[in-house]
Symmetry: C2
């Protein structure tokens, strides 16, 4: 809301892990009477309901604050490459745990890839290909520029690829939400790219005795830390990679902070900024 | 597609009966392990997945035809009146059939209204209040006017009402899709309001030996036939009422036809037009 008060145009993105997980669980619970929906359709479902809940909450906040702006969720498709190496090696576990009998059935019937979890049984794994393009980028930009608040690429977007006949087709995969958000921000040429997470800023040696908060890193520094595996796989690492992607493409800054620290991070008092290398150089020149 | 080729800006609405029915079935199938989602959230889910499937299909048609226009689904809330008489008398059956034990449980726990179907058990009934306003009307209009194709008010929209503190709140109800579409068309001041259904045009005495196709009716005629209960409850009747609502408010025409007959109906060779009374009068003057 502090961004809205400051007059920013706003596009909001979000994850969908727990929600699409529940949708997959429900699919399985009803598998004896209803067709199991493919994963792309389940992602679309989750964009609908999560988006609705966010837009309803924001609408009420805006009305309470007397701000006459509207919020809408756009069901968003994200294009991935059919030749992405991720399709050769599905790694992302999704949905319920299965016993061996049902797992074998699903592997045969639906050609699902499965991994075994020593304690809890079998679980489906799907590819997580790199997002290339957001189909609705122009619509999202047009609405946001008109002052409307847009919720988009929920859960990283619905992954689609181009078939040989050049038609788009939904695929059973998941796209990383941070990566998809960076692609959208880049395509829309947004001035700011902000990733909200649990922590107020990025730390080096996170969770260790010598944990150090980072207030600013250049693109080169961020890449170096990233290569050093400074950041948690599946938590901070994809956020840093998304920030690197945006900053490298746009020469603008990315900000990583928590929802609680956002207002003060916008005043440059908290959070971590990932900045183009040139900015750092310019600052150095001042001395 | 014929409308797109002719250069019309387009907003598409749709129902969600079978899809939201399946979502409710899945909810019930997983009720022992996951919370049952309220109906407004299920409608949002269905807007997401149905919208995705429509927008993907249209995107492919547009690309095949070399038309550079984009399609997006907007998750849409529709405001209803807390004092709508429908809330006193829920009439719309939704979701699975329950045995007596589970039905009693749900009536007690969730305060659901239930009706008994002699053969198949108990079924939940929900109110179907009149739609008053589409929250996203300005966004839908702005995008459509920019040439984008918008899918909106799916399943009649997610019903919300104003609580006493003036906050909006989702409610467990369904809104008629034809009625919601008419409200949106009226609010957007669209030039055309087209309802696609199974039959190429409206009939009087439908299904009887003296069944007669109607190519045009004035507002007054449509109201008269409607009062005479000429049209099927839950099928043609709500479409005629929606057409009446739009024509009365806009003084423009409404068209009822089938998808197959649309192209020829746009050339006034098929379909049924509901026209303002003045149009009829003007035509008569010519002779």
């Amino acid at each position: 809301m502090c961004l809205v008060r400051q007059g920013f145009n706003l596009v909001i993105t979000h994850g969908n892990g727990p929600q699409v997980g529940n949708i997959l669980l429900k699919n399985e619970a009803a598998a004896n009477m209803l067709p199991v929906m493919p994963l792309d359709v389940c992602v679309a479902d989750s964009q609908g309901s999560i988006g609705y809940i966010i837009q309803q909450a924001m609408l009420n906040h805006l009305r309470a604050a007397g701000i006459r702006r509207y919020v809408v969720t756009m069901i968003t498709q994200v294009v991935v490459d059919k030749n992405d190496p991720a399709f050769k090696k599905p790694t992302k576990p999704v949905g319920p745990f299965f016993d061996q009998r049902r797992a074998t059935e699903l592997m045969l019937e639906k050609k699902w890839a499965m991994i075994e979890d020593s304690d809890r049984g079998f679980r489906r794994v799907v590819p997580s290909p790199k997002p290339l393009k957001v189909i609705q980028r122009y619509m999202i930009r047009d609405l946001a520029q008109a002052g409307h608040i847009v919720i988009a690429v929920g859960g990283g977007g619905i992954p689609i690829w181009k078939k040989e006949n050049s038609e788009y087709e939904g695929i059973e995969a998941v796209v990383d939400k941070d990566a998809a958000s960076a692609v959208l921000a880049r395509e829309m040429e947004t001035d700011h790219f902000i990733i909200l997470t649990e922590v107020p800023c990025v730390f080096l040696n996170y969770g260790k005795p010598d944990q150090t908060p980072v207030r600013q890193m250049t693109l080169t520094e961020a890449r170096k830390y990233s290569e050093e595996k400074q950041f948690g796989v599946g938590s901070m690492a994809p956020k840093i990679e998304a920030a690197i992607d945006f900053v490298a493409a746009s020469s603008r800054e990315a900000l990583i902070t928590s929802a609680e620290s956002l207002a003060s991070a916008m005043e440059n008092k908290e959070g971590t900024r990932i900045v183009p290398d040139a900015v750092q150089a310019r600052k150095t020149e001042l001395f």
